[in-house]
Assembly symmetry: C2
Homo-oligomer: 273 residues x 2
C-alpha cells in the first residue's frame, strides 16, 4: 500500500497548529501544507474574496495529487467549505463540524461560547453547526469576534498583561451567560490557550485536534506507534510569501522548524470544479 497524501491549507501559518495535530494522530500519512502567506489574513475579508482564494488553494492541492483536503482555517471552513468541496474532487474536512460535535459532547450545561475572526463569527457557521448537531437539546450559544487575538498570537505576546486585559474584555459577554465550554474558532487561538483558560476556566475546544480525530476515523490509520522516532515529519511546505519573521512564527505554531518552504504563486490560478 502506497503512502497516503493529505493536503492541508490555511490563509497563512495558523494552520500549522492544525498540522501539528494531524502529524501526531496520523503517523503513516504524508502531508502537503499550503499557507497563503501573501494574502493573509482572511479574517477581515469578504466572503466572496475568501471563497475565491480558497478555490485557488484547493485547486493547487489537487494538482499536487492529494487524496483528501483539510481546510485548516476556520474562516475558510465557515465561509467557503462548499466552494472547496466543489473544486477539490476528494473528501474535504473543515474545522467547524468536528469542533461543534466535540463541544456538544463535552459541555455539561450546553452553554457554549465561540470566538474567532470577524468573518468566521459573522458567518454564524459555528452557531448553525451547534444547533444542527444539538438536536432538541436546549442550548445557549454566544459568538464573539476577537481579531486582536490573532495579532497577539503572531507577536508572541501569550502572557503579557495587555493580552489578559484584551481577553477579559472579549470574553466578558460570554462569561456573563456562564458558558462552560469555549470553541477556539481560529487557528491562532490555541497559542493563547493558557491565558484564555486563566481568564475563563472552562473546557476549551481546539478544532484542529478534533478535525485530526475525524480525519483519523475517515482514513482508518489507528496505529499511534507507526511513526516512531522519525524526527522530521514527511511534510512538503508551500507558501505564497516568506515574511522576515516567518521561521519564528512557524516554529511557534508547530513546535519545530520547517526549514525553507517552497514559494508558489496562486494569483493566476483559475479554479475549475
Amino acid at each position: 500500500m502506497s503512502t497516503m497524501r493529505i493536503g492541508v491549507f490555511d490563509s497563512g501559518v495558523g494552520g500549522l497548529s492544525v498540522l501539528r495535530h494531524l502529524i501526531a494522530q496520523l503517523p503513516t500519512v504524508e502531508f502537503v501544507y499550503l499557507g497563503d502567506t501573501a494574502r493573509v489574513p482572511y479574517g477581515n475579508k469578504s466572503a466572496a474574496t475568501i471563497a475565491h482564494y480558497a478555490a485557488q488553494s484547493a485547486s493547487f492541492l489537487r494538482e499536487k495529487g492529494v487524496e483528501m483536503i483539510v481546510v485548516a482555517c476556520n474562516t475558510v471552513s465557515a465561509a467557503a467549505l462548499d466552494v472547496v468541496e466543489a473544486v477539490a474532487q476528494v473528501p474535504v474536512v473543515g474545522m467547524i463540524e468536528p469542533a461543534a460535535r466535540a463541544a456538544i459532547e463535552l459541555s455539561q450545561t450546553k452553554r457554549i461560547g465561540v470566538i474567532g475572526t470577524r468573518a468566521t463569527i459573522e458567518s454564524r457557521a459555528y452557531s448553525l453547526a451547534l444547533y444542527a448537531h444539538g438536536g432538541t437539546t436546549a442550548m445557549a450559544v454566544v459568538e464573539h469576534a476577537c481579531p486582536l487575538l490573532v495579532a497577539l498570537a503572531e507577536e508572541g505576546w501569550v502572557a503579557h498583561p495587555a493580552t489578559y486585559a484584551i481577553i477579559e474584555e472579549y470574553l466578558r459577554p460570554l462569561l456573563e451567560v456562564e458558558i462552560d465550554t469555549l470553541i477556539l474558532g481560529c487557528t491562532h487561538f490555541p497559542l493563547l490557550a493558557d491565558a484564555i483558560e486563566h481568564v475563563a476556566p472552562v473546557t476549551l475546544i481546539d478544532p484542529g485536534y478534533w478535525a485530526a480525530r475525524q480525519v483519523q476515523r475517515m482514513v482508518g490509520v489507528l496505529s499511534p506507534s507507526g511513526r516512531g522516532h522519525v524526527l522530521v515529519p514527511p511534510v512538503e511546505y508551500y507558501v505564497t510569501d516568506i515574511p522576515s519573521n516567518f521561521a519564528a512564527v512557524a516554529r511557534q505554531f508547530l513546535g519545530f522548524d520547517i526549514g525553507q518552504p517552497h514559494l508558489v504563486a496562486l494569483d493566476s490560478i483559475v479554479p475549475s470544479s
Copy 2:
C-alpha cells in the same frame, strides 16, 4: 485650467488618514484613491511581494490618468518607492522623506524615535532618510516595529487600558534614550495619537500631514479657501475587497462616509515601466 488629478494608494484603508490631509491642504485637486483591501496588510510581507503589489497599484492609477501619485503607505514607501517611480511615469511622493525632514526640523535634541510595521522598520528607510537629511548633526535614531497597534486602531480600541499597556511596552526602548520626537510611521498610528502622546509626551510627526504639505508645494495650490463648503470632496474610491466592517473603519480614518467604493481586481495586472 482643468482640474488636477492625484492618485493615492495604500494597502488598505489606512491611507485614508493621508487622504484626509491631502483633501484639507489641496482644495482644488481631484483624487483617485486605491486601497488594496483584498491583500492588506502589507506590513508583515516580504519586500519582493510588497514591490509586486505596489507596481500593480501604480499601474492601475496610471491608467486612471493621474498626474501625480502619493504612496500613502509607509510600508510601500519604505520598501518599494523606486519600483513605484519606475512604473508611475508621473511624480511620486512617499511618506518617508517629508516625515524625516519634519522630524529633523522640529526635534530640539535630535533624539528621534520611529514606529511602524515590521517591514517598514526592517527596511531602515526612516533611519537612512534621517541620517541623510541630518547632515553633520549629531543624532540618535531608535526604530521599533509595533504590529499590534495596527490591529488596535482597526478595532477602534483607541483608549482601552490594554492599548496603553501595549504602547508602553513598545515605546519603552524609545523613551529610555529620551527621544523628543516620534515619527508615526504607519497610517494607522495617527488614530492612536492621543494614547501615544499620553504615554510619550513628545512631538508626534504624522507623515501624512507632511507629505500633503510637500504635494502642496509641488502642485502650487496655495489657496486654502478654494473648496469652501463642498461637503463631498471630489474623490473616486477603488478597493480590491469590501469587508463587512469597511464603512465603519473608513469613517474612523477619514472622518466622513465615502459611500460605496468601486470594486476592482489588481491580481492580473502586469505592470510595465
